[in-house]
């Protein structure tokens, strides 16, 4: 099957607005999702789920959150890990302190909402402060989050450093007991994460192709023109902070619940914020799919590299070397991408698709 749009005729505005205008893309995506839901849990080992797929989903959510704020709305943020921290701690506390009927997806949404509100508070300065100056506000959020949960051990249920997340938090409406399924297994955690991430990504995609998304981008590209044509600039910025921090919060909670299995403050140090920023820059600022491409690359590279070290060079590299080489690689990749293709991996992919569409005639 040749990758073509010929033969597809757009006859209504609804059709023109479709997510996948080319049928091939639609079918490929459907197949991919079916594979992810029905095949992966059966063929993937616990190691693959726990060390690759789940963390990518969790990181991806946070990266998507940051991308909504920085890539789409143009508000710089270095506080991603701080917002993830809020999300993770609130989820834990909601689960811990609520009656029986509380379940993880609901708790995630609630915690995400609270994180979003906190995001609005730290986003308020963006009304007056622009550009690089806004870094202060998001850095304040980062350090405030760490300080807050360190100072009030109540939120960690008075544990010393970390708390292991209990299995019963994963049970949904007693499904586990009724059907005798292990809801805390990696398969279940993976499916839960996948469901949430898919829903959130779809929501973001819809948002970005509607009026709100256009408002976001208008504020990013030129906020003064945006206000003159009637876009509520302040409300748009606050909404961007809310949505972004909601995503980061959920991402943080998934990071602890589905990936690490433990909750602790050290998970959300400053480094994590940078890591997610790299994912977004490499993946492509302003691209939803790009957030995930970047996540996969940044997350997998050190693993691949150390694997290569073990198998090809017979354990020549220790973890420090892997770590540092990965850092050098990200640095070079970021600078090279910015010089050659500022749209990141997402733009590279789009160019490749465009080439395929017009192949073999390059113009």
């Amino acid at each position: 099957m040749i990758y073509r749009e010929t033969g597809t005729f757009i006859t209504s505005y609804i059709e023109d607005r479709k997510l996948f205008p080319i049928p091939f893309d639609k079918w490929a995506m459907a197949l991919f999702m079916l594979f992810m839901v029905f095949v992966i849990p059966f063929i993937a080992s616990d190691y693959w789920l726990a060390a690759h797929l789940i963390p990518i989903l969790a990181y991806g959510t946070a990266a998507l959150g940051l991308n909504l704020l920085t890539g789409m709305t143009g508000q710089l943020s270095l506080g991603t890990a701080g917002f993830m921290c809020f999300g993770a701690f609130f989820t834990f506390n909601i689960m811990l302190r609520s009656p029986e009927w509380m379940n993880l997806p609901l708790a995630l949404m609630l915690a995400g909402t609270v994180t979003g509100v906190i995001g609005i508070i730290f986003g308020l300065p963006s009304i007056r402060i622009k550009g690089f100056y806004l870094l202060v506000s998001t850095l304040a959020a980062q350090y405030f989050a760490l300080w807050f949960f360190r100072s009030y051990p109540y939120f960690l249920n008075y544990a010393t450093a970390t708390v292991t997340l209990p299995d019963h938090h994963f049970d949904l409406f007693g499904i586990g007991e009724t059907f005798d399924v292990d809801m805390a297994s990696f398969e279940a955690k993976y499916l839960l994460s996948l469901g949430i991430v898919t829903a959130l990504a779809l929501f973001a995609k819809n948002l970005m192709r509607s009026a709100t998304g256009r408002n976001f981008m208008a504020v990013r590209d030129m906020d003064i023109a945006a206000s003159v044509i009637g876009i509520p600039v302040i409300r748009t910025k606050m909404l961007a902070f809310f949505v972004s921090c909601f995503y980061c919060g959920v991402g943080g909670a998934l990071f602890c619940y589905a990936y690490l299995q433990v909750l602790g403050i050290r998970t959300f140090e400053m480094n994590r914020s940078f890591e997610i920023l790299f994912m977004v820059i490499i993946g492509g600022l302003g691209s939803i799919a790009g957030s995930f491409y970047g996540t996969i690359l940044v997350y997998e590279f050190p693993i691949l590299f150390s694997w290569a070290g073990d198998y090809i060079f017979k354990g020549a590299f220790d973890t420090a070397v892997v770590d540092n080489v990965a850092k050098i690689m990200y640095g070079i990749l970021i600078i090279a991408l910015l010089i050659r293709e500022p749209g990141g991996l997402a733009a590279l992919w789009a160019t490749a698709k465009q080439k395929l569409r017009t192949w073999p005639f390059p113009h």
């Binding site: 009026a211 044509i229 876009i231």
Partner: protein
Amino acid sequence: MAAGNPILQIDNITLAFGGVTALNGISFDVAEGEICAVIGPNGAGKSSMLNVISGVYVPQTGRVVFREQDCTRKRPRQIAQLGMARTFQNIALFQGMTVLENILTGRCMKIRSTWIEQGLNIGRARREEVENRRAVEEVIEFLHLQGIRKTPVGKLPYGLQKRVELARALVAEPIMLLQDEPMTGMNLEEKKDMSCFALEINREFGTTIVLIEHDMSVVMDISDHVVVLDYGAKIGDGTPDEIKNNRDVIDAYLGVTH
């Protein structure tokens, strides 16, 4: 065209940046349904005037009344909601978006659905997208932009960008349209097109137009009313014929011999 009631009243506007006075006690009226040209040499304060009218700058003294409402301290968005749209001297399109998306942003005040509905892509949000698209397509057709819908605006030549900007202003269905040098830097052909668009917009939709323009032949041809600024002061106000014979205006443009 017969002048109606004043839709926009500028009353004694003074605007200063630091020590520089950009506008000094300017007053004039714009009648409903007319095309009013604001002319003057470079640095006369024309763009500042437009910025005051659309709420980008707040003047130190004076009042701007639009549709019988005091807009002097209103924010740009509130003024836009009263039915004012504008284009900019240095194109202010959203560079990261396509032509279609840029024009769709002009419809932002017609949106009633909430962001949650839009994110879920249900009911009202879906309907609105189609309605807005229809309205946008009408303007696209009117301004002959069909071929470039999905092109990123940054890749377009200057003349087309100006046209896209006009489209973005028009889809808001404004009662009054401000155009800041819509024809600067265009060739004769493009200028002719832009003047025709202005006249058509004025005649078909009854939109009042205030425009800044340097090309005198265009100004004299299409406008009903001309206001002349020089060094932040108003030196002429009247029909094109009156302005042509105004001593002060001729002096300002040609220089005075004493």
